[in-house]
Structures are given as C-alpha cells and as structure tokens.
C-alpha cells in the first residue's frame, strides 16, 4: 500500500493554514460554495482517507486473522497497524487496550452490557451528567432495567457547565461508574475530566469518558487522564463512518465477558463450551470493519500531521472569534456562555425556531445542525425545543464565521417582528 502522503504544507510550530488544509478535502472542490459548520455531527474526509481506503481495497484486501496466504497476512498487518495508531493517538500503554467498534454509541453499549452486567448489581449507582448525549444515557437506562442499578444525574450550573460541587456531592461509595462527556456535543462545554477522574477514583468508582467531540479537537492522553474507559468515533476525527474505538484498561477488559459471540473472538469452540480470546479480539466478533479501521488510522495520521496542539490552537482561536462575532447579534443567546468551550457554538435566536434558522442558513450555503442534538434532557433543562449549532473543523476559518454571521442577519430580517 502506498503510504498516506501527508505533504509538508503544514508548518509545525506556528500552526497551519486552514485554507491549505481545506484543499485536502475533495468535498469542497465538488461543492465550492459550501460553508460547512457541522463537523460535530460528522467531519468531512481528507483525500488521504478517501484514497487510502480505496487503495487498500485495490491492493491489499483480504480478510484478517484467518488466511495463511500472504495477502491475508498483509491485510492483518495493516489492520493491527491501525490499532497501534489508535494506541498512540490516545497514549494508551498497551495495544490490547484498543477495541474496534462501530462508533461511540457501540463502545458505551459494550461497557454497559459487558462490564455493567458482570460487575454491577441492584442498588449500585452510575453517575452521569445533564450534559450527556442520548448515547451516554440510554445504555445505562437499559442496564438499569435489566440489573436494577440506579442512574444518577449530576446537574449543570447556571452557566451550563458541570456543577463540580454538586457532582462531588452525588458521588458516594455506591457510585460504581462515572460516565461523562469530555466536550458536551450540544453546547461545546469542556468538562474538567482530570478533576472528575480524581474525585471518582477517590470513591472507588470507575470512569468512562465519551470523547466523541474531544478526540477531533484535543490531545488525548488516557494515562494522564487516568480514566478507565475512553470512547470515540472515527467519522468525527475525519475518518470513515462505521468505525469507532473503545479504550479500556487491560485489567478491566480482561475481566469482562464477551459482548457478542461469533468468529474471531474465540480460542476454541465445542458445542459444550467455548474459550474466548484475550482482549481486544474477545470483543471483536465476526469480520470487523477492516477498511474502516485502516481508514481511521489514515485519519489519525492526517491529524498528527497537522499537529494536535496546532488543531487545539486553531479551534480555540476560531471558537473565540465565533463567540465574539455571535455575541454582537441582537436577540442571540449562546448556550453555555461563560464556560470554557471548544469547537461548538450552540445558540437560540429569540422568536425564531432553529429549523427556520437553519433553513435560511442553508439558502446561504451555510450547513449547520438544528434540533435537540440528541440531548433532549439538556434542551429541557434550558427550556428550549432545540438550538442552532455551528461546529468547527480544521478546514474552517474566520471567513466561514463571517458568512454565518451574514446569513444570521438575513434570518433576523426575514423573521423580524
């Protein structure tokens, strides 16, 4: 396979030029008018991922962990190489701690069903927050209905951030797991996960972090965070859909029963009993999304090529610019104002429904998300049916924010009372 060529157009220190980066994304060549501000829903794909995945199918494809023939060995090597890339991306100690899944949702369901069913009992508590995406609420409700755990919800404070004092008060010896988002998808609010992990571990609780929005924006170091599980999805880090990652500390993963049964995850099967593989293969039943994993690896190469610190700096700078520009629009209320946020600007325009906002924005070729962002409890908390959400990626620059602001003027004009 040809190596994913990352040309040296991206200067290391001093950041990168988003206009140069944008040229790496064919979607913008094919849709030259597109102002894409919906990367929090799904990011666009760089040439390296699109072409690299196609190249893999053209030159190296075969099933993995099965064939004796050389092509299968090569395919297996590429698949496992992708696992190594993920390990480095998260700074995990051991490649066996990286489980390939479909997406963040599946990663959380895996923990709930496998670890939750095996180790949680009636009366045990799982502590989440009001900021969570449905994918970090519903799996725990299913577990509650099966096992009888209590699902406890830590509130947000008046400014929309996690209320740490309340969070600490909700922690108790009954808390067995804390499952929190790293960056809230509906508001962009950063959760102080280091602090959360320290508080939770002091009570003996394990910690799962939903890194869906953080993985594309922040350098992630699971050792420094000290978390027990970390989940993220490929399609939000500029990789393919259908591939995601569950990181779990090896000691935990090796004590967990399988999530699904089938091929790939077994050592020995008879009709009486089956011996299971060690992690991560124990949790990867059936033929995996091989090309997806390889594509994810290419996306992580792309991100590392830009520089994670550079991406963080870019997102912080652009988020700040967006907050400033939006704060001058009369009648616009930014959710989570005053909170440290990254990459996501979620707002309400007085008297205009988010669907009407996004319809007018679409007319100006500005693509944003409108609705409840799969966080209905949080919308209920804010007393809103939904919001309009603009979210950023490495290909966005100030001119995109300017176009958003200009289109919002058109919204105000059309719906002015």
């Amino acid at each position: 396979m040809r190596p994913a060529s990352l040309r040296s157009v991206y200067p290391g220190p001093g950041g990168f030029d988003p206009k140069e980066v944008k040229r790496e994304f064919p979607i913008f060549t094919n849709n030259p008018d597109l102002i894409f501000l919906d990367s929090a829903a799904s990011a666009q794909k760089p040439r390296a991922v699109i072409d690299g995945t196609a190249d893999y199918y053209r030159t190296d494809y075969a099933n993995v962990h099965r064939g004796v023939y050389r092509l299968s060995a090569r395919s297996t090597e590429l698949y496992e190489e992708a696992r190594d890339k993920v390990r480095r991306f998260l700074n995990a100690t051991d490649r066996r701690e990286i489980v390939f899944v479909r997406n963040t949702t599946e990663a959380i369901n895996l923990v709930a069903q496998s670890w939750g069913s095996a180790f949680l009992h009636e009366g045990d508590e799982v502590l989440i927050s009001e900021l969570e995406h449905h994918s970090n609420i519903v799996p725990w409700q299913l577990l509650r209905d099966r096992v009888g755990i209590r699902l406890v919800v830590a509130p947000i404070d008046a400014t929309g951030g996690l209320d740490l004092a309340a969070f600490e008060a909700y922690l108790s010896p009954r808390t067995r797991l804390v499952a929190l988002t790293h960056i809230a998808n509906a508001t962009g609010t950063l959760v102080p996960v280091e602090r959360v992990v320290a508080l939770a571990h002091r009570q003996g609780a394990k910690v799962l972090i939903d890194g869906s929005q953080a993985a594309p924006r922040l350098p992630i170091d699971v050792q420094a965070l000290g978390c027990d599980f970390y989940a993220f999805t490929g399609h939000k880090v500029y990789g393919p859909t259908g591939i995601g990652v569950l990181y779990g500390r090896f000691e935990l993963l090796s004590a967990m029963p399988p999530y699904q049964g089938g091929g790939e995850m077994i050592l020995r099967v008879t009709f009486d009993k089956t011996e299971y593989q060690e992690p991560p293969h124990r949790f990867e039943a059936g033929t995996p999304d091989i090309a997806g994993a390889i594509g994810l690896g290419l996306a992580l190469d792309f991100i590392e090529g830009l520089g994670r610190e550079n991406i963080l700096e870019h997102e912080e700078m652009l988020t700040g610019y967006g907050v400033d520009r939006l704060s001058h629009i009369p009648g616009l209320r930014l959710l989570g104002a005053g909170q440290r946020r990254l990459g996501i600007l979620s707002f309400d325009i007085d008297g205009v429904h988010p669907h009407d906002v996004s319809q007018v924005l679409d007319q100006h070729c500005v693509a944003v998300r409108a609705g409840d962002h799969c966080a209905q409890p949080l919308m209920d908390r804010f007393g809103l049916p939904g919001t309009t959400r603009a979210s950023l990626g490495v290909y966005n620059d100030e001119s995109d924010i300017d176009r958003l602001v200009a289109a919002l003027e058109a919204v105000r004009e059309m719906f002015a009372r």
Binding site: D356, Q359, G371, D372, R417
Partner: protein, 154 residues
Amino acid sequence: MIDLRELYQDIILDHGRHPRNFREIEHPTHSAQGYNPLCGDRVTVYLTLEGDRIADVSFKGRGCAISTAAASLMTEVLKGKTTAEARALFAQFHARATGGEPVPDLPEPLAEEMDRLEPLTGVKAYPARVKCATLSWHALEAALKGSGETVKTE
C-alpha cells in the same frame, strides 16, 4: 436556486408570528397531540363538534414558523366545516404538500378554502419540512378518530 420566499410567504410569516386560534378549548369534545420527534415540535389540536359540524377548533404548542402557520391556517379553514369536509381538505392538502398522487379537485366552496392553504404547499420542494406543514393535520385526524394518543410523524 429556489427562492426561499416561496417557502416563507408573507402569509406564513404572519401566521407564524401571530397564530390564530392559539388557545386551549376548556372542554373540547375531541383533542389530540401531534409530535415530531425529528425536531421536537409539539402541537395539541382541540375541537368542539356539534353533531358532525366543527363549531370550534384551536391549537397550542411550539414549533417552527411553518408548523405554527400550518396549524393556524388549518383552524381558520376548518371552522364550520363538517368532519367529512375536514377530511377531504386534509386529503387534498396532503397530496399537494407532499407532491403525492393528485386527488380529485374539491367542490366549491371547499376549493376556495384549499386556496388559502396553497402557500403552505411550498414545502414540497423541501422534503425535510413537509412534516412541519402536516403535523397539525395529523393531530386533527387523530382527534377526530378519538384515539387520544399522541401521533408521531416518524
């Protein structure tokens, strides 16, 4: 590019801002709630039937300009109609709003009422918005059936 004013005609903007019959009927003979899980819009339609005739009709809820205007215009055209006439109007409106199979033209004076709904049929160019325009009508249908359940668009 399609002009957005085809979708947001003045009458829609007006009814979206100032919905008519936006109130609860205290003792309705029929009512039902409509819910669009896609956007979280909710509308409750209230009816007072006298015999087979709609003596009063109103709605409450929250939604976008299209769904609010659609509910408002619906209540205006339905007052005084029979339930059969209401169903005939819905069938005609549904066909035009979705761009579906045409149904036979309505007799006067129902055809005139249909003309009042015509501005809303601009949603057919915006598939994601068709449900906004039809939500209140689905709730009306449920209310007339008397099922008392929330109708969902999904």
